[in-house]
């Protein structure tokens, strides 16, 4: 069943009069119930902004310019007040990158559980302390923490433990979809691996739909079933995670993959990605990746490539995934494939 259905979403930041930053551009996506999807891209590509839009967390100066976000058949974009708040219980939730640092330093973990259960209680529902303690202990167990953590204050916990607590707090509301926004970026590699493993297990046990936002393609490919690559506000590739390391892809995806290597390998060449992403306050004509792309063709500067079939997924590239709707794209791709156009 399709849980999340998104059409033509645009998010604009308007920090001052006359400045408009188009952070998310014309995003379409559909998520099936129980999917675990990764959303990757460089800083500033709009991945967190999209995650915030999907969970209705955008705050001024950001604004959902237009588009439809349907969560379980409900138009999320039009919700407000009490109705929106109710959706946060058994609906959608977000785990923030800084969530581990957002715990109240003068209250213990149990108080945090009491707080969230009370704030989202249904009318007539009460949460006596004994029940909070029982539920808290159960939730901590889910994130592989000891019930004794309930009595601890945030400063008594390590970064990894605090991040686990913030995940347990989100689980308290039994959401059907959780957006994890860079949940492990601030953590040590070994701790990061352990927290990701827990998130993966939780997702399999509880069956919620998960979106993992990260700049680290390595982390995303290790845990998700499907990955979406974002560049300059658009989704430029959408593939099963398994397929991403082989075959041809969007040149940006390929460039991201070249940033990785196995530290044990005989020879290592780390490429990085030369240049920088475009200024999103200026209009971009054609493909936003064109200035950094080794395969760039004339058409790329003029026409925005739509998402078109590539392999078992989709990519937005005139060369790698020519669309029938774009006149000339097929011919360009054929020319590149036959080697008549210089390729690096």
């Amino acid at each position: 069943m399709t849980l999340l259905d998104v059409h033509g979403v645009n998010v604009v930041y308007e920090p001052s009069r006359g400045t408009r930053i188009w952070s998310v551009r014309e995003v379409d996506l559909a998520l099936e119930e129980g999917e675990f999807v990764g959303l990757v891209g460089e800083s500033g590509c709009g991945k967190s902004t999209l995650g915030f839009a999907l969970t209705r967390m955008l705050r001024a100066p950001a604004r959902l310019e237009n588009g439809v976000i349907q969560f379980d058949g409900v138009d999320v974009a039009s919700l407000s007040g009490e109705v929106l708040r109710r959706q946060r219980r058994n609906g959608f939730a977000i785990v923030l990158q800084s969530g581990m640092n957002a715990l109240n330093p003068v209250r213990n973990v149990e108080d945090h559980f009491a707080d969230i259960l009370k704030a989202h209680a249904r009318s007539g529902e009460h949460h006596p302390r004994a029940a909070v303690r029982r539920r808290g202990a159960e939730l901590l167990g889910k994130v592989r923490l000891d019930p004794a953590v309930l009595a601890k204050f945030p400063f008594e916990l390590s970064g990894g433990m605090r991040q686990r607590v913030s995940i347990a707090l989100v689980l308290a509301l039994e959401p059907r979809m959780i957006v994890f926004d860079e949940p492990t970026t601030a953590l040590d590699v070994i701790v990061q691996k352990a927290v990701m493993k827990t998130i993966q297990e939780l997702q399999q046990e509880s069956g919620f739909t998960a979106i993992l936002i990260s700049h680290d393609l390595g982390v995303v490919l290790e845990s998700t079933n499907r990955v979406m690559v974002m560049y300059a506000g658009r989704i430029v590739e959408d593939q099963p995670s398994k397929d991403l390391v082989r075959g041809l892809h969007h040149p940006y995806t390929e460039a991201l993959l070249r940033c990785y290597a196995d530290p044990r390998a005989e020879e290592i060449h780390l490429a990085g990605i030369p240049g920088s992403p475009p200024d999103l306050s200026l209009p971009v004509s054609g493909c936003a990746f064109a200035p950094r792309c080794p395969l760039v063709q004339d058409i790329c500067w003029k026409v925005v490539p739509p998402l078109a079939p590539l392999g078992r997924g989709l990519a937005a590239c005139h060369v790698r995934a020519p669309s029938d709707k774009v006149p000339g794209a097929k011919a360009v791709a054929a020319k590149v494939a036959s080697g008549r156009v210089g390729q690096t």
């Binding site: 970064g159 701790v191 990061q192 390595g218 990785y260 530290p263 044990r264 390998a265 780390l270």
Partner: protein, 284 residues
């Protein structure tokens, strides 16, 4: 990257950099309140940074690697043991001596968002060490700032000099931090997790910058990280630190290909690489 003419020290004098000899260094912190009252952060560590080489100090949070870095740059004093920078006894430096030492040994910090004053322009940030340590005139400092910005790949420098940190990306900020560290032409650069806060796509660029600086300027580099890939790319030798002790040590490539200590293996397993599933260690 092309080599930029170097203000104070002529290039090619690599051997003029003194070795760093860390000998039996320990750091024990007193813990207030409940508990045993003593915490050993660094436990009897010895190693040498030969002139012009790059050494990696690898370990997870709490392994003592940053404490060791602070002792080597003189901002913490070891409880026991000695640190020699050539003839200089780093552990017993005070006020003026420490100040002079800081002009020769510079540190690059992890968080480029926190390491720069948000109210200072790039030019001002990079000028400070020139005026503090080298007493440079404003006019000469301006030229030198432009040279330094070019060295770290912020070109054209005129476009970056007047910018404030919030107008720069993370990678650009880290380059400013590197430019500031290079301003007084140091002989030793201690980089504490310089790329961990950066996007993966930007890491390669900053790592290559550090490798080039070492090659072109002949300075010694101590690279502290939990990122084994970064360590592999720029260091000759690594030390694996676990709970304050060196548990494994040797040529970087050799240690990573033949890890002996369980902790090194654990660190290797934690590296998130898209190609891990290939099983052939290919790097494309």
């Amino acid at each position: 990257m092309r080599q930029v003419p170097d203000g104070q020290r002529a290039s090619g004098k690599a051997s003029s950099v003194p070795p760093v000899v860390v000998d039996g260094v320990s750091k024990i912190y007193r813990v207030r309140g409940r508990g045993s009252g003593r915490f050993t952060a660094v436990d009897n560590v010895s190693f040498t940074i030969p002139p012009g080489s790059a050494i990696g100090l690898v370990g997870a949070s709490g392994s003592g690697k940053s404490t060791l870095a602070k002792m080597i740059t003189g901002s913490e004093r070891p409880t026991s043991g000695s640190i020699r920078f050539g003839e200089l006894a780093v552990e017993s430096l005070h006020a003026n001596g420490l100040r002079k030492y800081h002009s020769r040994a510079q540190m690059i910090f992890q968080d480029p968002y926190a390491a720069l004053n948000p109210l200072h322009t790039v030019a001002y940030t990079v000028t400070r060490p020139l005026q503090n340590f080298l007493n440079m005139s404003a006019a000469r400092a301006r030229d030198r700032v432009h040279e330094l910005l070019e060295t770290v790949g912020l070109t054209p420098p005129g476009q970056y000099a007047a910018k404030l940190p919030h107008q720069l990306s993370g990678g650009q900020r880290q380059r400013v931090v590197v430019a500031r560290a290079l301003a007084c032409d140091p002989e030793l650069l201690v980089a504490d997790e310089p790329v961990s806060m950066l996007d993966v796509s930007l890491r390669a660029g900053v790592l290559r910058l550090l490798a080039d600086l070492r090659a072109n300027r002949g300075l010694s580099l101590l690279y502290i990280t939990h990122d084994l890939l970064g360590a592999r790319v720029i260091t000759d030798e690594i030390l694996v630190l676990h709970k304050g002790k060196v548990v494994e040590q040797g040529p970087t490539k050799y240690v990573l290909q033949n890890p002996k200590h369980e902790y090194t293996i654990q660190l290797l397993d934690a590296v998130a690489t898209p190609f891990a599933t290939d099983g052939n260690g290919s790097t494309r």
